[in-house]
């Protein structure tokens, strides 16, 4: 199989431009972030931050400063509220399983939206299937906005946890998350409110201490930081239990010794995202709209998935190309140097396409032909123009292969 993949990579030789837009799944790390991390791999702070020697103290300093920075960017009261985890997945697991463990005798109802990322969805399902919880899914409208009325109805005395992503990772819907948290706490002040904020961090501003949000997940690579790093904001008085056991260094809720270089990289990536924030976000919005409008106007039989305009994450582009299978299209685009992902069942290794697209009412065929892209501050107008140049012919070629099949 390794030989096969070498051939696949070779098939990409001689590309005149490469544009990576699959930030949803992974991302390259810019040079400035690398340079911030490097000393912590080799010459500084490579010790255990809980120990009394110089490399440990250097690690402690770096971790504290990083936590302070990140706390500031999300309006947390203090850096102790930041728990670093190996990623978004682990932070979501800690939020949901840790809360369920803490309140296991208080109630057995959990409430999520229909369009949560799989790490939230699958934990909620696990709690229902194996631990006697009732998991209620709040429906969303055609743009992915959660139904606040329904949320109000559902949250009751039995509800230990509500988890709703502030910004949907796939279709970019920005939820009224503050209101959602207010509603939940009005219904039951003891319900813990969690949000996966991975797609909001660095893209929309939030001041968590001014909200009723108790737990919020952050992810490093989604803002061009290194993989292997995420965080869970845990509001000071929120009770939670750790879900794994082991050596405790400076943190209480995730065992093991902190990964100083990656924490420093995450903080540096945050700094780069929040410096001249408005300007950067305006750049994202402009490229996003250029890409959306270019694709919708040049290619027929397309559907934008998720909201238009202000309710949409500034970086998110998700379009369904009808009569066009998504995985085939990602390969065709890859051979032209454009790297994207698809909500197709094929890409997901399941018969079902993205549950998120289905939840906003897309037919299966529409979901199979969806392509997800995210622009970053490092993308240029030329990048978008290149994507717009190669996209129509890629879609055309795949549609030619499909021919009359799907309309038969």
């Amino acid at each position: 199989m390794v030989e096969n993949v070498e051939e696949l990579i070779k098939a990409h030789e001689g590309l005149k431009r490469e544009v990576y837009l699959d930030i949803e799944n992974s991302s390259p790390v810019p040079q400035e972030v690398i340079e911030a991390m490097l000393p912590y791999f080799t010459t500084r702070g490579y010790g255990n931050p809980a120990l009394t020697h110089k490399p440990g103290w250097e690690a402690y300093e770096a971790i504290m400063k990083s936590a302070q920075k990140i706390a500031r960017y999300i309006g947390a009261e203090n850096p102790e509220e930041i728990t670093f985890t190996p990623g978004e997945t682990e932070a979501n697991n800690l939020a949901l399983l840790g809360t369920a463990l803490t309140w296991k005798n208080m109630g057995k109802k959990i409430c999520i939206s229909e369009i949560e990322p799989v790490s939230v969805l699958h934990i909620a399902q696990l709690l229902q299937e194996k631990f006697g919880y009732k998991t209620v899914k709040i429906p969303v409208d055609k743009e992915g906005l959660i139904n606040l009325e329904k949320l109000k109805e559902v949250v009751d005395k039995e509800t230990v946890l509500v988890s709703i992503a502030a910004v949907n990772p796939e279709i970019g819907t920005i939820q009224p998350i503050k209101e959602a948290a207010e509603i939940v706490k009005t219904q039951n002040p003891n319900t813990v409110f969690h949000t996966d904020f991975s797609d909001g961090y660095g893209k929309i501003k939030i001041n968590l201490s001014g909200t009723k949000i108790d737990l919020a997940t952050l992810s490093s690579y989604k803002i061009l930081g290194p993989r292997g790093m995420g965080a869970l904001y845990i509001r000071e008085k929120t009770k939670i239990e750790k879900i794994l056991e082991g050596q405790i260094a400076t943190q209480k809720f995730w065992p093991g010794i902190e990964n100083t270089p990656l924490i420093v990289g995450f903080a540096k990536a945050s700094e780069l995202a929040f410096e001249n924030f408005e300007e950067k976000v305006a750049h994202l919005r402009r490229l996003r709209d250029k890409l959306i409008e270019g694709l919708l106007s040049q290619i027929q039989d397309t559907l934008l998935n998720g909201p238009h305009g202000e309710n949409r994450a500034p970086d998110n582009v998700n379009i369904s190309f009808l009569h066009c299978e998504g995985e085939a299209l990602t390969i065709e685009l890859s051979l032209k140097g454009v790297y994207v992902s698809s909500g197709s069942a094929c890409t997901r290794r399941l018969l079902q396409p993205s549950h998120i697209l289905v939840a906003i009412g897309r037919r299966f065929e529409e979901a199979h032909g969806s392509i997800l892209m995210k622009v970053t501050r490092l993308h240029t107008d030329e990048d978008i123009e290149y994507v717009l140049e190669v996209f129509p012919e890629a879609v055309q070629r795949i549609r030619k292969i499909v021919g009359s099949t799907v309309s038969v």
């Binding site: 096969n4 299978e325 499909v402 009359s404």
Partner: protein
């Protein structure tokens, strides 16, 4: 297996890029479909069959991934100028081997391609009102699998809610 063996081999990529025998055949003797757009996997096979029951031309259209496209394409090559009886006997395993192997999660692509071909052959004899002795009464493995995938897609769609 803990690691999803995903990468296609070079032959799949080559046929994905330059598929042979692609497109609707206007003068087809018979055509058949397998799969369902709901599961993102669908193949149409067109056959031109002469009086000696030899496949003179075969072509395909495919709504599916690269493996789907490549297996359909190679199967059209494999059956060209073959007698229907011989074409019928080609198994999904032979198709997969011919293409140089597939990741296990893509086996169903080869199965679907063979399913579509066999449907077309059955349809040909049905329309002719004639059943040769080598043609089994019962559905073969590949045909059953195609049917199952189609039904699974419908059930899933129904469960998820009101999809056609």
């Amino acid at each position: 297996m803990s690691r999803m063996p995903l990468p296609y081999n070079p032959k799949v990529l080559e046929l994905f890029r330059n598929p042979k025998n692609l497109g609707k055949m206007e003068d087809a003797t018979v055509w058949a479909v397998a799969g369902n757009p709901m599961c993102g996997d669908m193949i149409t096979f067109y056959l031109k069959i002469n009086k000696e029951e030899i496949i003179e031309k075969a072509s395909f259209e495919s709504y599916g991934c690269a493996a789907n496209i490549a297996t359909s394409s190679i199967l059209t090559e494999m059956i060209k100028n073959k007698k229907l009886e011989l074409a019928w006997k080609i198994t999904w395993k032979q198709v997969t081997d011919e293409i140089g192997g597939l990741p296990s999660i893509k086996f169903h692509c080869g199965i679907l391609a063979v399913g579509a071909l066999r449907r077309a052959i059955r349809k040909y004899f049905k329309e002719k009102g004639d059943k040769p002795s080598w043609l089994p009464q019962d559905l073969t493995f590949e045909e059953k699998q195609a049917l199952e995938e189609e039904e699974l897609a419908k059930r899933l769609a129904k469960r998820i809610g009101g999809q056609e």
